[in-house]
Amino acid sequence: MLSYENIFDSLGLREWCDESQANSLMSLSQLRGDKIEWWELPFPSLDNLHKACSAIPQTRDLTASLETGFLAVRPSLRLVLDPLTQPLSWALDYTLLFFTTMPWWALVPLILLITQFVTKSSRITFLVAICFVFFLFIDHYTYAIQTLSIIFVCTVLCTLIGIPIGILMSKNDSAQRMITPVLDMLQTLPTFVYLIPLIFLFKITEPKLYGLAIMFYSIVPVIRLTNLGIRLVDKNLIEAADAYGMTARQRLVNVEIPLALPNIMAGVNQTIMMSLAMVVIASLVSAPGLGTLVLDGINNLRLGVGFVAGFGIVVLAVILDRISKTALARIDESRKI
């Protein structure tokens, strides 16, 4: 094809083009000097331009350069991120260790007690009891507890990190403008896509790898809803707080956070649900729990194994959702507005 050669020739760039490849091979059509009709002209993409002028890189060079670039910054990036994220590994490791070494007859009643305490509903506690007996009975208890402990750590950390970010966004419009696209991206990027750089950064056996993958995905709702909740606080109440001379801190602690709490809790509920959704994908990068069984079911075509584990995840989702929603409803009830 002689599609774009003429342009480079007429611009006098031929020499520059061939510089990089002194002995460039001529294609058959070039040798024949075929002329193509105008309607056959391809889009001037990198690959097509490369054919005409070898100094222009191909598309695969672009992706390759991204890769080499990433590999080049990787050691320095690791130097910063490794110690920064190490506590996450510890948290995940020790919580897993704690939950799995605790005997079932101690842990299950503890969970039931906590459930009763936050929901004040014996119906929910009963539902949770049934579910755990079910897990124990079909020997999925350890897997379920592993999944639960991962979600526990990730949710706590997401809440601790997400709420301050949400508050910052609600107080500062330019912070909101900058953070919102990042949140949009985290929510829409296919989860596998941000697994890739994480795999490059950390060893695949490190817990922080899946911890980060889960947190990137599930931190979004708690940030968004904290921001929204604080922005939605009645302007009349803010005015009253100001009229009585509250400092910004007093206003935040005494007025804004308490009134935004229903929204913040709704965000925490969503965060729990989303981290549960990530558990299966995280098992690709060595996260223990029910996800590994699902993965096993897919890899080895064991329908039963995958199906029961999948059902187990649904059961966990249902009880976590019920517990957090009932706790939320209790807050709403006591602060009816």
Binding site: L237, A240, T247
Partner: protein, 348 residues
């Protein structure tokens, strides 16, 4: 009522407020006296307050009255700088609060001013008592002593027994009494009331007005009360300021405004008022006169309506007017009946 001329507590001088993109550059136009509609048309800026000059007197109730959009709520929010003026001075005991920094402004709001809001603005997640203690809590005071004080004010506004209730469990009138108790517990010398009674139904509104007047008899606070209701304004005001489209149309003693409206707008405004109930003998009598009277003496502060009742509608009678034991003038029933005629009809 008014005795010797009271001290000026707050005085507002040449206050302008313009809402819009570039209010500061609009100011020269305002000094030239551009009017609201013209300004909005030519530059898209909204003129909220136009050259306000008013004095708020110590220990009196100043009522700022105007229809919606007249700028009255904007004006009251300038006094504690919830809204910043475009230009002008707000002097409190002689100090311009526009010079205050964050800290001084907060001190001012915490210690010297309290506020009651149209929509109550009670914290829905706190009990009535916690709401009442807002000012002492913000100031970081000893809670035990503050609670005692708060309970005393709650009792004073007839809310004893509702201390542990949440605001949503109370009726509108009760909620606003919590708002009032909150303002009183702050113990501030100045009380800003932004249409505090407007959201209440008429009977409750009347009883709240009476409560405020009762409280004021003991407290002598400097109260700035905003309303769109002329009856309320005339009932409460020691000093009345009437706003229209962001400027002061007339200010002064309410009786004076009623008898001598300075402007057709105010004439129209006061035309529907029950003059017999609002006007006092003091404002209608012939001051200092020593005419012979047919009947005994009456108090200067009773209303014309009451006097007509005392005189049994007899137009031929006349009375001596006394105030604090001194005779200060005389009044004839003819004068009483003439004063009942609307200003615009009188001067046709």
């Amino acid at each position: 009522m008014k005795t010797t001329s009271p001290n000026v507590k707050i005085s507002i001088r040449k206050l302008f407020k313009v809402f819009g993109e570039d209010p500061v550059n609009i100011l020269p136009l305002l000094y030239d006296g551009i009017d609201k509609a013209e300004l909005q048309k030519s530059s898209g800026h909204v003129l909220a307050l136009n050259n306000i000059n008013i004095d708020i007197f110590d220990g009196l109730i100043t009522v700022i009255m105007g229809l919606s959009g007249s700028g009255k709520s904007t004006l009251v929010r300038h006094m504690n700088r919830l809204i910043e003026p475009t230009s002008g001075k707000i002097l409190m005991d002689g100090n311009d609060i526009m010079d205050y920094g964050d800290y001084e402004l907060r001190q001012l709001r915490q210690n010297r001013m309290s506020m009651v809001f149209q929509k109550f603005a009670l914290m829905p997640h706190q009990t009535v008592l916690e709401n009442t203690l807002m000012a002492p809590i913000v100031r970081g005071e000893n809670l035990e002593k503050a609670t005692e004080n708060g309970l005393r004010w709650l009792k004073r506004v007839d809310l004893e027994g509702s201390e542990q209730a949440y605001p949503h469990q109370l009726s509108g009138g009760m909620q606003q009494r919590v708002g009032l108790a909150r303002a009183l517990t702050s113990n501030a010398e100045i009380m800003l009331m932004d249409e505090a009674f407007s959201a209440l139904d008429p009977l409750i509104r009347t009883s709240m007005q009476d409560l405020l007047l009762q409280l004021q008899q003991d407290l002598h606070k400097t109260i700035i009360h905003i309303t769109h209701d002329l009856d309320e304004a005339l009932k409460l005001a020691d000093h009345l300021v009437i706003l229209k489209d962001g400027f002061v149309v007339q200010q002064g003693e309410p009786q004076h405004i009623l008898l001598k409206p300075s402007d057709p707008y105010i004439e129209e405004f006061v035309s529907d008022i029950n003059r017999a109930r609002v006007l006092k003998i003091r404002s209608v009598m012939e001051e200092g006169s020593r005419r012979k009277v047919s009947h005994g003496s009456i108090n200067a502060n009773i209303s014309l309506e009451t006097l007509i009742a005392i005189a049994e509608g007899d137009t031929s009678r006349s009375y001596e007017v006394e105030d604090g034991g001194n005779t200060i003038g005389t009044i004839s029933m003819q004068e009483v009946f003439q004063a009942l005629v609307r200003y615009d009809i009188q001067h046709k």
